[in-house]
Amino acid sequence: MNNSRWRLVAVSLSFIGWLASCSILGGEASPEPLFSVPQGFPEPTYDLSKNPLTNDGVALGKKLFYDGILSRDGSISCGECHNQSHAFTHHGHGFSHGIDDQEGTRNAQPLVNLAWQDSFFWDGGVFDLDLFSIAPIENPLEMDEKIGNVLQKLRTHKDYPRLFKKAYGTEEITTERFLKALSQFLVTLVSANAKYDQYLAGKAQLTADETAGLQLFKDKGCASCHSGVLFTDHSFRSNGLLPEYTDDLGRYRITENPQDKNKFKVPTLRNIEVTYPYMHDGRFLNLEGVLEHYAGGVKETGNLDPLLKQNGRFGIAMTKEEQQKIIAFLKTLTDQEFLTNPRFAAP
């Protein structure tokens, strides 16, 4: 399906939502569509036909996302570890702090362009966005709650039955409605208006360093894995990190295939400037540390990606200056509109 058709779908959806919101509430129409496929983006992986976005559905999902009611003791919401200003990561935390101030075992991933992902988490253990939210809710180190309890709490809440009715027509609160409302909000978290996007659209110019960085990003092979407009090929690879302070073996935990030991999901680089610290265990504090790793810190992990051991050498040959230029380019992927858009903001 081509992009223009998707845009048409998105626009019609938002129009329907607009009509609904006007007729029921007499409210003001949102000028932006709830979801649209940005110029140059591929067709989304998420099947919107199974969960058509509506204004009330997205609003419900957003309320749930920012509500501690999803956790055992009411203290932790999704937004606690997924802050908008940091592309929905946990502002500077290597491991996120969950309930009872317990630390998790992995760096919280950004919630960006999820409609294009075919697997979730660093190990890809979940393959459907609608099933994704169950994991942090039920993880004893994160929200430590059971979906059944969450639904019970929502059913007896003073607002939620009414909000579910607005979104779905009746007050019934089911697993499907709950999870799909969260998905509706998550799907709207699209980042596609960074300086780099404006450059592609001919609306902005890159500086000399940024231009050189973009060229190096391609020439040095970064773009082989962090590919396309999504800046990830969604694969699982070992980038030369040996376990240091966790025994996390990544994708192996899911597939139990020895060839998947130490492999992790290639993350998107969109908004990478604000999602520090980096890697699955948050071991690198800044982008300089990441680039130094690729230049000189890559280790044989048993399954080291072939792209990182070419010509008898581990890692990627890069001078300090080249690393700085690549970082300059990476910062053009920061999307201020996304990071500050009130549609996504905590209430």
Binding site: F127, L131, A135, K146, E176, T255
Partner: protein, 256 residues
């Protein structure tokens, strides 16, 4: 064809007439035992093949894709019906198949677990026993590795290596969505022996299955060696064991 089959059926049944439209239920009764002793949760201590003592606090398993077979090889399938047998819930031990066409059935097969199609389906397809919200702390769904727990056996043992002396066997693994992973789906076929299950207008047979939980340990599984199993690939000996645990003890063909 339907007519031909019914003619054969009519001519074969000596005692009564079977009308082609007659239907009734078949009840599968899962009567869980440990060896020769009836399974009692929590309080009773048993011994496995490795001579390890254990109690059972939880025994749950999914039964799906049930097929009833007649002597002539024809089958009646029950697609899209999923049952969770939970020892703690007496009602769940009786699985009722509705609207089974009248006839003489001689064997039964079913899958222990939730097939890959259902395991990868949209959340709208996950209702009833497949709802991830079901059963609270005793749920049968892995949130971190999307999939159902097909079989769950938990209890206490003096040889368990966990601090609480608890052992936990959680078996899942439907073969994987994005990559091939362990597939622990197994089809069990049980013969009814010399008695057939005779479904009639006024007969809803009960197939009384006796399961032997000890079979779970029969393929070299030891609580002392592995007290906690939650990885599909590591579960294979457990799966090979519990697949053997089902036998039909007898069949009731009582008139209603």
């Amino acid at each position: 064809m339907a007519l031909a089959v019914s003619v054969v059926l009519v001519s074969c049944s000596k005692d009564e007439e079977i009308s082609p439209n007659d239907k009734n239920a078949v009840i599968l009764e899962f009567d869980n035992y440990v060896g020769n002793e009836k399974l009692v949760l929590d309080t009773k201590t048993y011994k496995n093949a490795a001579n390890e003592d254990f109690t059972v606090t939880t025994l749950n398993y999914f039964v799906s894709n049930i097929v009833l077979k007649k002597a002539d090889g024809t089958e009646v399938k029950f697609p899209n019906q999923y049952f969770l047998v939970r020892q703690a819930d007496t009602k769940s031990l009786n699985v009722t198949l509705k609207d089974v066409p009248a006839g003489d059935y001689t064997s039964l097969s079913y899958v222990i677990g939730v097939d890959s199609l259902k395991s990868t389906s949209d959340v709208s397809q996950r209702t009833g026993v497949l709802d991830p919200a079901s059963y609270g702390t005793d749920n049968m769904y892995w949130s971190w590795n999307s999939g159902y727990i097909f079989f769950k056996l938990e209890g206490n043992s003096s040889v368990a290596t966990t601090p609480t002396k608890k052992f936990q066997f959680h078996v899942g693994g439907f073969g994987g969505m994005n990559s091939a992973t362990a597939n622990n789906l197994r089809t069990v076929t049980v013969s009814f022996g010399t008695t057939s299950a005779q479904v009639r207008k006024d007969v809803a047979p009960t197939v009384h299955l006796i399961t032997d939980v000890l079979q779970t340990f029969s393929q070299g599984v030891s609580i002392a060696k592995t007290s906690v199993v939650m990885n599909p690939a590591a579960s294979k000996p457990i799966v090979d064991g519990y697949t053997k645990m089902f036998k039909v003890d007898h069949i009731h063909n009582d008139k209603m």
